[in-house]
Amino acid sequence: MLRAVADPTAGGTALFVGTVRDHDHGREVTRLSYSAHPSAEQQLREVVEKVAAEFPVRAVAALHRVGDLELGEAAVVVAVACDHRAEAFDACRRLIDDLKHTVPIWKHQFFADGDAEWVGMC
């Protein structure tokens, strides 16, 4: 991911890695599964392009995995390279926030007690 945004003109790269957490609201999580709507990739591209247009970025990269993930595995990674760290942080934060709110990806969480829950539903 770092190579994807490696850019000699950039002074700072901010990244965010979303990983599978072993608990959610006090309940022990054992596994996660992500599923995506066919338009997800296009929506992700639009989110990235919007950030690239609104921030002085040198490079932007975003990646979201789908399917079954184990505890601790990275589900989503975003990275933004800019000349200065303040812009890199702001752009990176906008990128992950917009991604989470607009890209049609669903997260199915499985708990130790055998129960399962779609995140964002409750």
Binding site: K100, H101, W118, V119, G120
Partner: protein
């Protein structure tokens, strides 16, 4: 009346117990009402429908009133439950 397909995703699909079912209605509002009636005893289905956003032939319905959204013949209505980040007002539980 227009005929087409309602496609359910993620939590909606799980609640409906099926991936697709036909619609036979003039507006999106009518099609959804018919689906609710068909799954009347299914509380989970009603819950997820209430929180979902919709596409008609790929176009987001957004905040338009479903009763004002005419359905095309041979079209596809898609039912999208809230995304992981809690887009449609659902409380986002993800990091």
């Amino acid at each position: 009346m227009a005929r087409g397909t309602i496609r359910y995703w993620a939590a909606a699909r799980e609640a409906a117990g099926l991936a697709e079912e036909p619609y036979d209605a003039v507006t999106l509002g009518e099609a959804l009402a018919a689906a609710r009636a068909k799954h009347a005893e299914n509380q989970a289905f009603a819950d997820v429908l209430r929180r979902s956003s919709f596409l008609v032939d790929g176009q987001p319905v957004g905040s338009r009133d479903p009763d004002s959204v005419a359905l095309p013949d041979g079209g596809t209505v898609e039912v999208l439950p809230p995304f992981a980040g809690g887009s449609a007002g659902g409380r986002g539980g993800s990091p």
